[in-house]
């Protein structure tokens, strides 16, 4: 190798080294926390280990200078880990970065000359608590707890409202039971009288039968036996009637199972008509009312909740008797209180109508009668839940509808419309 070639290689190496040396020097790096009013601290740029900063020392201040031309203040800088492109400033010698998240960063700065090698400063900011794996789940858990408590209190409130409503319904049921009791007592008394009378008759017939048998009068024995059989059949018939009344009362008192079963609506309606009427008669002996029934004979049994349907019928019938009773007290003597009960089989529906020629319902009140706790009766006489419950039972419980048609001081007619299938 000749000397000239060696010299050329040396010169080119020096030129290359000169070209790869940064023209800019980072002269200071300060760190602080702009959220807390604390002093900035200077980072030792000559330390050998990697610069690691605490999560709250995330406000950085870089100062730099052009070593070869200090008056030159045009620089390009970039913070890898944050900036995507180089940023150029024409009259600056310092740069600040705030709110840096945890992570690895390198600050690069160079002159605006093409091909200049940038000066660099690498550092790491430790992740703060926001970046800890448990922080976000914990925060979510807290928010969830917050929501759960609010929802729980809301549900508790609704539950309490439900309990209150149930208690009011129970009170309503007890009130209607009290009304029924008098009627039922009267209803039971009649068959019991029959049972007693026919029992006494049976005793007498037995004595006569014994006498006829002793005398050997076969003809009379046969006649007396026939009469005794008839008497016993009457006892059975009236005993069954009393039993049916008590069963009906128990059905009414029993909590609804919500289970639908095929029920003869005509029989159910007729039973409750008699019960309601007797109930009013028991309370007011002077009260009389004409009962007009027109029950469709071809009405097939329908799947209904019998207790609930009985409750609806009783409510509507009680209202009908109440209103004709009130009207009877105020109008001329030729007024005949009348309650009509009819059933009709329509194409797809079954309709039960309960009509009275009582006081009717004012137009203003008509819109409110199905609202819970609305009553026009004096305090203590009505809970205001009867029609509301009836409406719910028919519409929500049986998919039917309950409609009212009324003319003030003329009549009121309630129509229970149930789907036929």
């Amino acid at each position: 190798m000749n000397y000239s070639a060696l010299l050329l290689l040396l010169i080119s190496q020096v030129a290359l080294a000169q070209a790869s040396r940064p023209l800019v020097q980072i002269i200071s790096v300060k760190t602080g926390n702009n959220q807390i009013d604390s002093a900035f601290s200077t980072v030792d740029l000559h330390q050998k280990q990697p610069v690691a900063l605490a999560y709250n020392r995330n406000y950085l201040h870089f100062s730099f200078i052009n070593l070869y031309n200090p008056s030159q203040n045009s620089f390009s800088y970039k913070l890898t880990g944050l900036d995507y492109t180089w940023v150029t400033c024409t009259d600056c010698s310092q740069v600040q970065y705030a709110h840096l998240d945890g992570g690895d960063y390198t600050f690069l700065v160079k002159t605006t000359q093409a091909g200049d090698v940038p000066a660099q400063f690498s550092f790491t900011i430790e992740g703060n608590l926001f970046h800890k794996w448990w922080f976000v789940p914990m925060l979510f858990l807290y928010l969830l707890l917050f929501a759960v408590v609010i929802v729980y209190v809301f549900i508790l409130f609704l539950f309490r409202q439900k309990l209150k409503e149930q208690r009011r319904i129970h009170q309503e049921k007890m009130a209607s039971m009290a009304e029924l009791t008098a009627g039922i007592a009267h209803e039971i008394q009649n068959p019991l009288n029959f049972v007693n009378n026919f029992s006494e008759l049976g005793t007498e017939l037995t004595d006569e039968l014994r006498q006829a048998a002793t005398n050997g009068n076969t003809q009379e024995v046969l006649v007396l036996t026939g009469e005794l059989t008839q008497s016993l059949q009457k006892i059975t018939h009236h005993g069954s009637r009393a039993s049916a009344i008590i069963k009906g009362m128990l059905e009414h008192a029993r909590p609804s199972t919500g289970h639908k079963e095929l029920t003869n609506l005509n029989a159910l309606a007729d039973t409750y008509l008699q019960m309601a009427y007797q109930g009013f008669r028991a309370k007011d002996k002077a009260f009389t009312c004409a009962l007009v029934t027109d029950l469709a004979p071809d009405l097939a049994p329908l799947p209904v909740v019998a207790q609930d349907m009985g409750r609806v019928l009783l409510n509507l019938l009680n209202n009908a008797f109440y209103t004709v009773q009130q009207k009877q007290k105020t109008v001329q003597p030729d007024y005949t209180p009348t309650v009509w009960l009819s059933s009709h089989r329509l194409t797809h529906t079954v309709e039960i109508r309960i009509k009275d020629n009582g006081t009717g319902i004012p137009e203003l009140v008509k819109g409110k009668i199905f609202q819970p706790f609305f009553t026009t009766k004096p305090t203590g006489e009505g809970t205001g839940l009867g029609l509301s419950l009836s409406y719910d039972i028919i519409t929500k419980g049986h998919g039917g509808s309950l409609e009212v048609n009324t003319v003030l001081n003329e009549f009121t007619e309630f129509r229970i419309i149930l789907p036929a299938s």
């Binding site: 959220q35 703060n128 926001f130 922080f135 807290y142 707890l145 408590v149 309490r160």
Partner: protein, 213 residues
Amino acid sequence: MKLVDVAMYLVYLATYGVIVPVGFGFYLLQYLNKPLKILLAGLCLSLVLDLGLLAVNYKITNTFLYAFSGVDVLMMTWLYSSIITHKTLSNVIRWSGLFVIPLIGLDAFFISGLTNNGFSNAVEKFYIMSIALYYLTQLFQERIDEDIRRQSLFWVSTGIIIANLVGSFDIFSRTVINYSQTAYLQFFMFWSFVTILMFGAFSYAFWLSQYDR
């Protein structure tokens, strides 16, 4: 006026607002039932601690915060264990309340070293909120026929639940203050409103006691 000034003003107002229910309590002392007397005793103790803090010019605020937590737990445990009708649960509440006290001590001296009571405060508040919530459930189910708004202990429990639900956010306080002092101050303003609301509920509860007889 800076945010920090408004926040600090509200915090002081909320802290020393305890004087209002204490005043109502003493004025209506003859009408108070046992749980309300316990509440009044606890509030008096809180007031004494607040005044103590004032006397030492807030130099040992952090230490006082642990003491406040302790007083809070003791007061609420005593109060609720005396009114929860389920005997076993009442005993469980009493004993678990007593176990929270050593936990606060543990946090104070060994975990956080008397610097940040966020952890024990959150545990304490969660505990109090749970028992208040249980009592509210009991109240809602048992006193169906009474107007709940006329029940002193309904207002006491409601105030406690809201304040402790918000207060348990304290577990994140250190993180929040490091992230943003503004957010932290805003949280404390909200906390102050809620605390004032709680003392308002306590005062109303004391006021209602005269009609409870």
